[in-house]
């Protein structure tokens, strides 16, 4: 029972975390907002003063912004599609009675622990490089011209790498959910003559719904900010073909030193994330009992 004393105590215990997170959320955001209305360049000290909406007009009016926005959506959507569908299929497969399940699990989840720059670089150089990569050798073995993945299909290549990193996570979560499904329920359905497809649709999928929600939530949080994979492979190019919002802000603000425009881009990124968050949190709030 919460007495006045324990209430005070719990407030004191929560204070550091709440204060730290409040500062972390408010201070930089207010600054970003402030800069976004300023003329502010690290290279050109003459550029000062209130800019009004100029930075926003510049950023949003730039064709590279529209492309980055579309790329961000394709990147998040593509990876979610591959990992959720692939994760369900892989979880179903690993849930079958098979030999060596322990080792298989270890092999399958391994990519999740590979740090993003390493994942990107081993795909770029060891796998997708037209001259030395495994895929290049494979293409040549079939008498085909090796594909220069990062130049010809830059965004697709980034999606493949990111999906490879997140498929294990989806699989692991979905497999855990699948294994908590009671055997009786399945057998009962089987007895009633439900075929495999019906069992999947009416029993397994609803049972996994909660896990799927979680997978989508967690992945979206991380996928909106994909950065290292782009930085070490395509550098956002060719042109802006593989630039997402995160990389665009980095490019404008840090590489080109245009703090004003970079900040405007940052504000737009926060707004987009909040729109996504609003819907996600509602879905999760329903699914998580806090």
């Amino acid at each position: 029972m919460a007495t006045a004393q324990t209430r005070t105590l719990s407030r004191i215990m929560m204070a550091p975390a709440v204060i730290v997170l409040l500062i972390w959320m408010i201070v930089p955001l207010v600054m970003t907002l402030w800069f976004s209305f300023q003329n502010y360049s690290l290279i050109n000290p003459m550029m000062t003063g209130f800019a009004g909406w100029a930075n926003y007009i510049y950023v949003i009016g730039d064709p590279s912004f529209t492309q980055s926005l579309v790329n961000t959506l394709i990147l998040v959507g593509g990876v979610l599609l591959i990992t959720v569908i692939g994760g369900i299929l892989l979880a179903l497969l690993l849930d079958q009675p098979i030999w060596g399940q322990g080792i298989l699990r270890i092999l399958v989840i391994s990519p999740f622990f590979v740090m993003p720059p390493v994942a990107a670089l081993i795909w770029k150089n060891g796998f997708m490089h037209p001259g030395y990569g495994m895929l290049g050798h494979l293409w040549k073995a079939f008498g085909l011209q090796p594909v220069d993945w990062f130049n010809q299909y830059p965004l697709f290549s980034v999606i493949v790498i990111v999906a490879w990193q997140w498929l294990p996570f989806a699989t692991l979560i979905l497999l855990t959910a699948l294994q908590s499904l009671s055997e009786e329920q399945r057998e009962a359905a089987e007895m009633d003559g439900a075929n495999a497809l019906n069992r999947f649709y009416y029993i397994i999928l609803p049972h996994m719904a909660r896990a799927i929600t979680i997978v989508i939530l967690i992945q979206t949080i991380f996928l909106l900010g994909i950065f290292a994979e782009i930085r070490v492979t395509t550098g956002g190019g060719p042109g802006y073909a593989s630039t997402n919002i995160a990389f665009l802000v980095f490019r404008t603000g840090i590489l080109s030193n245009d703090i004003g425009a970079g900040s405007a881009g940052g504000v737009v990124a926060v707004i987009i994330a909040n729109i996504v968050a609003f819907f996600l949190m509602r879905a999760v709030g329903k699914n998580l009992d806090a």
Binding site: A2, T6, M31, F35, I109, L121, H137, P168
Partner: protein
């Protein structure tokens, strides 16, 4: 598994699962094998599977090129340091929310998680400028601070779900038996909380170790962690596939091993206990 299936079905599923698993693992396997090849063999027109001449020279070359050990130490300092700092802030908060929940607790938890939804690029520029003015750019403690902040919501959520499972009855029973607060903490609370705290620690070390955005943008040579170190290999100074593989292997090996041993905690932790 109580299910009975024919041996034939079992063999079929086993074969399929192994093929898929090996395909997914192949980039890592290929990196491990390449790390022990000579540079010439690594980029030969006819690829070899196992190294023909087994060599360790790539590993020493990686150290000579840009001091792997220094970056590894930075990684350890930042990931362990930020996790400990995060735990110090999060344990009391999670404890209070789990054992003295109010009507607003759920909202506070949701709000904390929502700070994780704030895209890093939205705050990169102010943080960059603040760090520049406070001379925190390219320092281990500056990076540790950022890492603590970005992982704090996750740490609080994980701890909260673990603490929530500690039965309150036991605490009350201890209190009824006249246990002093101190005894209650040492003999009842700590032993029950430690496993959850340990899992949280493990997972956050993994998350911090692999974090790349802030390490790349806020550090360069001095305080660079392994993610920054590896990213420096992307600059086009010719392709050193064998050396890159050796560096990659060195960077991922510790966390790969930790990850293998903490699968169960991983599921619990990363889903906030919502999937069991």
């Amino acid at each position: 598994m109580a299910r009975t299936v024919s041996t034939q079905t079992r063999i079929g599923f086993t074969a399929l699962a192994w093929i898929v698993a090996l395909l997914l693992f192949s980039p890592i396997l290929w990196t491990i094998l390449t790390a022990f090849k000579t540079e010439a063999e690594a980029i030969a027109a006819r690829p070899t599977f196992l190294p023909e001449t087994f060599t360790l020279e790539n590993f020493s070359a990686v150290q000579d090129r840009s001091d792997y050990i220094k970056h590894a130490i930075n990684s350890i300092l930042v990931s362990v340091g930020s996790t400990l700092l995060g735990l110090a802030i999060a344990i009391p908060a999670a404890w209070a929310m789990a054992f003295a929940p109010t009507k607003r607790t759920k909202d506070v938890l949701m709000w904390m998680l929502s700070t994780k939804m704030m895209p890093a690029v939205g705050v990169l520029i102010p943080i960059y400028l603040i760090f520049r003015d406070l001379r925190l750019l390219d320092t281990v403690h500056g990076l540790t601070l950022i890492m603590t902040l970005i992982n704090l919501p996750i740490i609080i959520w994980m701890l909260y779900t673990y603490f929530k499972e500690i039965p309150v009855d036991i605490l009350e029973a201890a209190r009824m038996d006249g246990a002093e607060l101190w005894n209650e903490i040492v003999h009842v609370l700590v032993p029950m909380a430690v496993p959850g705290i340990a899992s949280t620690l493990l997972l956050n070390v993994i998350l911090a170790w692999n974090e790349a955005f802030w390490t790349i943008t806020l550090t360069s040579g001095r305080a660079g962690t392994l993610t920054a170190f590896i990213s420096s290999f992307s600059s086009p100074q010719g392709l050193f596939l064998a050396k890159l593989s050796a560096a990659s292997l060195l960077a991922i090996a510790p966390i790969l091993l930790m990850g293998w041993f903490s699968q169960k905690q991983l599921v619990r932790g990363l889903t906030f206990g919502a999937v069991k």
